[in-house]
């Protein structure tokens, strides 16, 4: 690896007068890549919360079915 | 065994419609698929007709996997779904001619067939001018055209009047007595004492 190509940090930020363009392209690219990574992570989290919701919904349905069937049974018993 | 399903599962829009379904149909039989609305009857029929793929499971035609004998199966199948398959801007005769070409059937007297189905005088007007019941009759005319052994019918009796229902029943009996097999859904009682009718009930699932 060669030495630092700039004499000072100020020169480094200035990029020989092209600082605006260089930092603009690198900054935006980094933001875009980070966004990709972040949305990917969010996607998994979102799915997990959806799945938990779904599981609890299924549990509710099962509970309801059991309840109604037991009510049905007791009704059958009372008529007999 | 003419046609059988093994361990079929189907999922539509994240909902499991049915799982590990088994059944088999032989020549001369009628299977009636029953179940509440949304239980997956139509989806099952579409899978059986090869229009949709099951998420799991296998179909067998004459004891061979369907994937290997798909062409043979398709030529021996008559599927009528809840869509009529009738192009509304064409006349009944023109629709019949198109089907004949598609199913590679020989030309015959379509006028007589349509008259038999109670469509005399309506043969050459566009189907969009027909009533719902007449439209359905044109669609069901395929059952009189086809030489296929296996019929898969989705609610064939909807919109039909009493005489048409009787005629269709008669056709079912004829078909089964000549070695045909029918899989259908209907909310009506089938009431066919001559034919062994099997029931398959799909439970509505969450």
């Amino acid at each position: 690896m060669s030495n630092f190509a700039f004499n000072s940090m100020a020169e480094f930020w200035a990029m020989g007068g092209y600082g605006f363009y260089v930092w603009l392209s690198f900054g935006l690219s980094l933001v875009a890549l980070l966004l990709l990574w972040w949305t990917g992570r969010q996607g998994e989290k979102h799915f997990r919360s959806q799945l938990t919701q779904r599981l609890s919904r299924e549990a509710r349905v099962r509970a309801h079915q059991q309840q109604s069937s037991s009510v049905q049974e007791s009704a059958d018993e009372s008529t007999s | 065994m003419l046609f059988s399903a093994h361990q079929l599962s189907c999922i539509r829009s994240d909902r499991v419609l049915f799982e590990q379904l088994d059944f088999a149909i032989d020549a001369g039989q009628i299977w009636q698929i029953a179940g509440r609305n949304g239980a997956g009857k139509s989806s099952l029929l579409r899978i059986l007709a090869g229009l949709a793929e099951p998420i799991e499971g296998e179909l067998r035609y004459k004891n061979q996997p369907l994937t290997q004998v798909q062409d043979e199966f398709a030529t021996n199948l008559c599927f009528i779904g809840h869509l009529s398959g009738v192009q509304p801007q064409l006349t009944a005769l023109e629709n019949l001619a198109f089907w004949r070409a598609c199913y590679a059937l020989k030309p015959a007297d379509d006028w007589a067939l349509l008259a038999q189905l109670g469509l005399a005088g309506l043969e050459d007007i566009p189907c969009q001018n027909l009533s719902a019941g007449q439209h359905r009759r044109v669609s069901l005319a395929r059952l009189w055209l086809t030489a296929a052994q296996l019929w898969i019918l989705d609610e064939p009796f909807t919109a039909l009047d009493v005489s048409a229902i009787a005629q269709l029943r008669q056709r079912f009996i004829e078909h089964c007595q000549h070695g045909g097999a029918i899989i259908l859904t209907t909310h009506q009682a089938l009431d066919l004492p001559e034919i062994p009718v099997q029931q398959l009930t799909l439970e509505y699932r969450w």
Binding site: - | R46, A49, G50, L51, A52, E53, Q70, D71, A74, T75, L77, F79, G81, H82, L83, S84, G85, V86, Q87, P88, Q89, L90, E94, A97, F98, W99, A101, C102, Y103, A104, P126
Partner: protein
């Protein structure tokens, strides 16, 4: 197979005579777009002549695209396609017949209208014949690609705009070479290379697109 092809072709021509707006509306759209350009940029004969190839081809792309949305829609809604997919064998000749009929309804009229376009935009005879050549090779390619788009977006909820989004990028090579050929002819240069490339693209599309359309129809019905 041949009988399904002929029967479908006859059926489509019959439908065309009964539903004239289906193929007349895109043609009217084409003419109106051609008229809009001179109105938008001013009636400068030289400028118009210069950009005429591009204008003609963009208008042609859009009008064919507009007409193709209805290509399979009716048959899908009525369940005719379902029947064909279930029966398997007749689907391929049906697709070929549909594409042929759609070319007769959209590409052929464009070809017949080409003298009118030349007149409106002031093309000279060399450029005109180049345009006829590109239209002969290019419009079947247009019909093929639009059929593919129509088949792919068949059961989608937002069919029309999606079709444009999906298919327009695939039109770009055609647009480039077709308008380049007309432009070259306008300068008095040879344009057989461009026509050859267009011809090659047409051959590739002819070999592949009908199968892709068939596959797309199957998966949309399923």
């Amino acid at each position: 197979m041949g009988s399904v092809y002929l029967q479908t072709l006859r059926r489509d021509f019959r439908l065309m005579t009964r539903q004239k707006s289906d193929w007349l509306n895109p043609l009217m759209f084409f003419l109106i777009v051609l008229t809009l350009f001179p109105l938008g940029i001013g009636a400068k004969p030289n400028l118009l002549r210069e950009i005429a190839p591009g204008i003609i081809w963009i208008a042609a792309l859009l009008s064919v695209l507009l007409g193709s949305e209805r290509l399979f829609r009716q048959d899908y809604k009525d369940g005719v396609l379902e029947q064909l997919v279930a029966a398997r064998a007749p689907l391929f000749p049906y697709v070929l017949a549909k594409i042929s009929a759609s070319w007769c309804a959209s590409g052929l009229p464009l070809l017949l209208m080409s003298p009118l376009m030349a007149l409106l935009l002031g093309l000279d005879s060399k450029a005109y014949w180049a345009m006829v050549g590109t239209l002969i090779i290019g419009t079947p390619l247009l019909s093929l690609l639009s059929a593919l788009g129509a088949a792919l977006t068949l059961s989608a909820e937002k069919g029309g705009i999606l079709l444009a989004l999906v298919i327009l990028p695939l039109y770009i090579p055609l647009l480039i070479f077709a308008s380049a050929a007309v432009e070259q002819a306008g300068f008095g240069l040879g344009y057989s290379a461009q026509l050859a490339v267009l011809g090659a693209m047409l051959c590739v599309a002819l070999a592949g697109v009908p199968f892709a359309v068939q596959h797309a129809l199957k998966l949309n019905v399923g």
